[in-house]
């Protein structure tokens, strides 16, 4: 494939003296879905937060060929790198619609924001019904929708999703994976973190396995899904399709 959209090279992140991410190298080719799977505490969230610029990091990161080292979060958002964080980080005392509008903060001078808002509402009719409700009073599932909707309003070129199905009912999980697949078809590249490794590998082109802060395995999603180590640790025995 052509030059990667996102390339991370020997990336390390530490909390004080503890290195949570150690020399991780990873690429997301344009137009692809890449997944990172790993046990609890492996460092996946840390990796994403650092790529977004929320945490200090060592190593190289480039997006569309531009060096992102030393840039601020807002510059990365403006470039099209958008994260739906694990904790969602919604604006609880603002309305659903204000949350969505703030998603387009970097593009506030453009005129199609109303149209984009309509697109998000079409995707999540529930949010339209509740557009004047305060985000802090939404149900868990509705918050996930709002977090994803807000990220879409930022016009991502690479959407990074940290466990988008966390705490959702199975039917909604299927729904959210369908939405992710649709987004991908519409040209957004995706970096996905999921506890549900089976679903993640089914939708991804490429996968990385992370253990104790390091990448220990990588390959096409199909290969990984067959790999005995992956099957044993992340897909569970006896749950082959």
């Amino acid at each position: 494939m052509s030059a990667p959209l996102l390339a991370v090279d020997r990336f390390s992140v530490a909390y004080g003296k503890v290195e949570a991410v150690r020399s991780v190298s990873l690429e997301v080719p344009a137009g692809s879905v890449v997944t990172v799977i790993g046990a609890n505490g492996a460092g996946k969230t840390t990796l994403l937060n650092a790529m977004m610029g929320l945490l200090d990091q060592a190593g190289a990161i480039s997006f569309e060929g531009h060096d992102l080292r030393g840039t601020r979060v807002e510059d990365r958002v403006a470039a099209g790198l958008v994260l739906v964080p694990e904790r969602r980080e919604l604006f609880g005392s603002l309305t659903v619609e204000d949350n969505l509008r703030l998603g387009s903060f970097r593009h506030r001078r453009h005129h199609q924001i109303g149209a984009e808002l309509d697109k998000v509402y079409a995707l999540f009719p529930r949010l339209r019904e509740r557009h004047r409700q305060l985000a802090g009073t939404l149900s868990g599932g509705e918050r996930q929708m709002l977090a994803l909707g807000r990220a879409l309003m930022s016009r991502p070129r690479l959407l990074m999703l940290d466990e988008p199905s966390l705490g959702l009912a199975p039917q909604i999980v299927r729904e959210s994976f369908r939405i992710i697949a649709d987004l991908h078809k519409s040209g957004v590249s995706i970096l996905l973190i999921e506890q549900n490794a089976r679903a993640a590998l089914a939708i991804a082109d490429h996968g990385y396995v992370m253990e104790h802060g390091e990448i220990t395995l990588q390959g096409s999603a199909a290969e990984l899904a067959q790999n005995p180590r992956v099957v044993e640790s992340y897909l569970g025995l006896g749950s082959a399709r």
């Binding site: 977004m52 929320l54 030393g70 601020r72 979060v73 807002e74 958002v77 403006a78 958008v82 994260l83 964080p85 904790r87 969602r88 980080e89 919604l90 604006f91 609880g92 005392s93 603002l94 204000d98 509008r101 703030l102 998603g103 903060f105 970097r106 506030r108 802090g136 807000r150 930022s154």
Partner: protein, 340 residues
Amino acid sequence: MIFWTLVVDGVVNGAIYALLAIGLVLVFVVTRVILLPQGVYMSFAALTLSQFQRGNVPGTAGLLLALGLAAFVIDLLRSRVTRAWLMRRVASDLALPAIMYALVTWLVPLRPNMAIQIVLTLALITPLGPYLYRLAFQPLEQASVLTLLIASVGVHIALTVLGLVFFGPEGFLANPLSSAHFEAAGIVISGQSAIMVAVSLVIMVLLWLLFDRTLIGKAMRAVAVNRVGARLVGIPISQAGEITFALASFIGAVSGVLIAPVSMVYYDTGFLIGLIGFVAAIIGGMGSYPLAVAGAIFVGLLQSFAAFWNSNYQQVVVFTTLIPILLLRSLRAPAVEEDE
């Protein structure tokens, strides 16, 4: 009749406290800084206006130059310098203070009219806020509330000392904004009082419009409720801080202009008045504007009745009455609602 006169007095004072309280709440929720110098802006503005009226160039003009230069240098060492950055900062840190300084030294000896004096005062005091933010608080963006408070105390002391150097230990009284008087239901209300209440109301309405109706205002609220979320949608936190500090110093400057003609202002007057504003802000839990305003009006009324009863004990009565209220608040409500 006395009763209603005292009520009017209380409301007028309360309006000033309300402005200060709003400034404090605003700065606290967006940047987590407890801005002790909020009252200093008020003293500085009142004294600057008085100096203008005496045909003197106040020390605050030089202060603006110095702080602008300092903010520029600090940022130069700290930021990635791009052309756009340089253009913006040269304009905001070097050109603006220089123009203001030139304007003041040229205009003031010519004894311009009151409106021009007021505009100059506001234009001189307002930029102090963002400069101070960049010098003292932005470098501590990730620090705890306590660290920020310590920085705030430092800034407050430095400014108070400068105030003494600039204006000396004497107090000053400015000319009234209006010499009109009118009577409503038997109570005489001065034009000055009416202006004080009206201007405070206008500022509150404008702030409400800003925070409720504009995306920039909502972005500032977003920073207040969830900083990580705000950063993730690309809101520049430090710019939000600068805007907030500018709003606060503007509000402080306005309150200084309003109070200058009615009360003798000394270099340190702002501290006591700021403290009362702070108490009002705490009555509102440091997070609610309407409660802070209500608290401010309440303190204003309390003070005006206490002064009538025994003016020597005015402050004592005010602060002792407030202790149980503050205790109750601290038991009942957490200081700020944290998101999640």
